[in-house]
């Protein structure tokens, strides 16, 4: 059971994935890959 739970544990929590994606987007904006995101 413990092994099964350990297997099911995600690599990173939802919060960390959100932080990683946001920082990746910020890096792309900083590098000029994402230019002038409009709204």
């Amino acid at each position: 059971m413990a092994e099964e739970n350990a297997q099911r544990k995600p690599l990173l929590s939802l919060d960390w994935w959100a932080v990683l994606l946001a920082l990746a987007l910020a890096t792309l904006v900083r590098a000029g890959v994402l230019k002038q995101v409009s709204w």
């Binding site: 297997q7 099911r8 995600p10 929590s13 939802l14 919060d15 960390w16 994935w17 959100a18 932080v19 994606l21 946001a22 920082l23 987007l25 910020a26 904006v29 900083r30 994402l34 230019k35 002038q36 995101v37 409009s38 709204w39």
Partner: protein
């Protein structure tokens, strides 16, 4: 929150897993784009025909379209995984929103907000506990309702569930009450804010203090104004940051009564419960304050945050199912409504006081 955790825990290859999210993501994006289109079309029509028409924000349209689809039709299972990601987009949006705050702003507004949050949490816990006892609710259900209304809604209830070893039934009661109250807040808070002529800052702090779920607090703020939305997120983030301390207090209480496992390493417990997206929000704000981004890039980051929130608002509407909410018990809901009304009045008083002293 439950759904968003469920979509993350599934075991499958990364590609198959991402593919499963696509239909729901397309639905969220389609609702968001339709909301933006409706807002722009109405504004364009009113302007072209010189009609004075109140600006109804895309936020409201996204929620309304989601509510209509989610309540009038049965959303096929193929969309559910993608819809469940709305909480993920909320967190991405909050981290990127850090670009709209200089560290000095966070220091000033965050400091005031944090002070108000301490009073709000203490007052809410006492109020909900007193009301729950008066209505004869089960002790752990009272705790869940108190934690949900004092800290951060569904996330706090889920965090407390394991720590105080609450029944599944109590958890679903509490979540349903908090979600129903969140939906009511979306409609009532902006109306009250306009009626009593609150400033953007004062309203934002109020929404961040009094609306329980982060998604609903963000939407309630954005429904008032863009600035109010940004302030509501900052205040709500201060509230979220304290989740660990409140849950730890209840966990120790129930462990002492022998009705929950004892907490070993308290520092580790606090770190586990701490919402990590707060760190991302601060990191982006520090980078902007240090001049790492030019004004055009800051605007792009702020717009990326708006796109992420657009997906969130569509998800808020889709997942609010009135039929399911009405199936829950009447008593917890009555305690929730009474408690939330009192908390809204208490926090409004707090905001008015803070505005008078510090000038929000």
């Amino acid at each position: 929150m439950a759904t968003s955790v469920a979509w993350q825990n599934e075991r499958r290859s990364p590609l198959a897993y991402l593919a499963k999210l696509i239909p729901g993501l397309i639905l969220l994006a389609a609702i968001g784009l339709a909301a933006k289109w409706i807002e722009q079309s109405i504004n364009g029509y009113a302007k072209a025909h010189h009609i004075v028409f109140p600006n109804i924000e895309y936020v409201l349209w996204a929620i309304v379209i989601g509510l209509i689809l989610g309540n009038l039709f049965k959303i096929p299972a193929i969309f559910q995984s993608g819809i469940g990601t709305y909480e993920f987009w909320l967190k991405v949006g909050i981290v990127l929103l850090g670009s709209r705050f200089l560290v000095g702003d966070i220091w000033k507004l965050g400091g005031i907000s944090l002070l108000l949050v301490f009073v709000e949490i203490g007052g809410s816990l006492l109020l909900m506990t007193a009301l729950g006892r008066a209505f004869g609710l089960r002790p752990k259900l009272i705790n869940l309702l108190a934690i949900g209304s004092a800290v951060c809604g569904v996330s706090a209830i889920i965090a407390a569930k394991g720590a105080i070893e609450a029944d599944d039934e109590d958890v679903s009661f509490s979540i349903a009450a908090i979600l129903a109250l969140g939906a009511i807040s979306l409609l009532t808070f902006p109306l009250i804010g306009h009626l009593i002529h609150l400033s953007d800052h004062a309203y934002g702090v109020w929404a961040g203090l009094a609306v329980d779920n982060t998604a609903e607090a963000t939407a309630a703020g954005a429904l008032f104004s863009d600035t109010a939305g940004k302030i509501a997120v900052l205040t709500k983030t201060c509230r979220n940051a304290l989740i660990g301390f409140v849950v730890l207090g209840y966990a120790i209480y129930w462990a002492r009564k022998g009705q929950a496992a004892a907490i070993g390493n308290k520092a580790q417990f606090l770190w586990t419960k701490f919402p990590k997206f707060v760190l991302g929000f601060l990191a982006i704000s520090i980078a902007v304050s240090l001049g790492a981004f030019n004004p055009g890039q800051i605007k792009s980051l702020a717009n990326l945050s708006r796109w992420a929130f657009l997906l969130t608002f569509a998800g808020v509407g889709l997942r609010t199912n009135f039929r399911e909410l009405s199936r829950q018990g009447l008593k917890p809901f009555a305690v929730g409504v009474l408690g939330e009304v009192l908390i809204a009045v208490l926090t409004l008083g707090l905001v008015a006081g803070a505005d008078h002293i510090w000038g929000l």
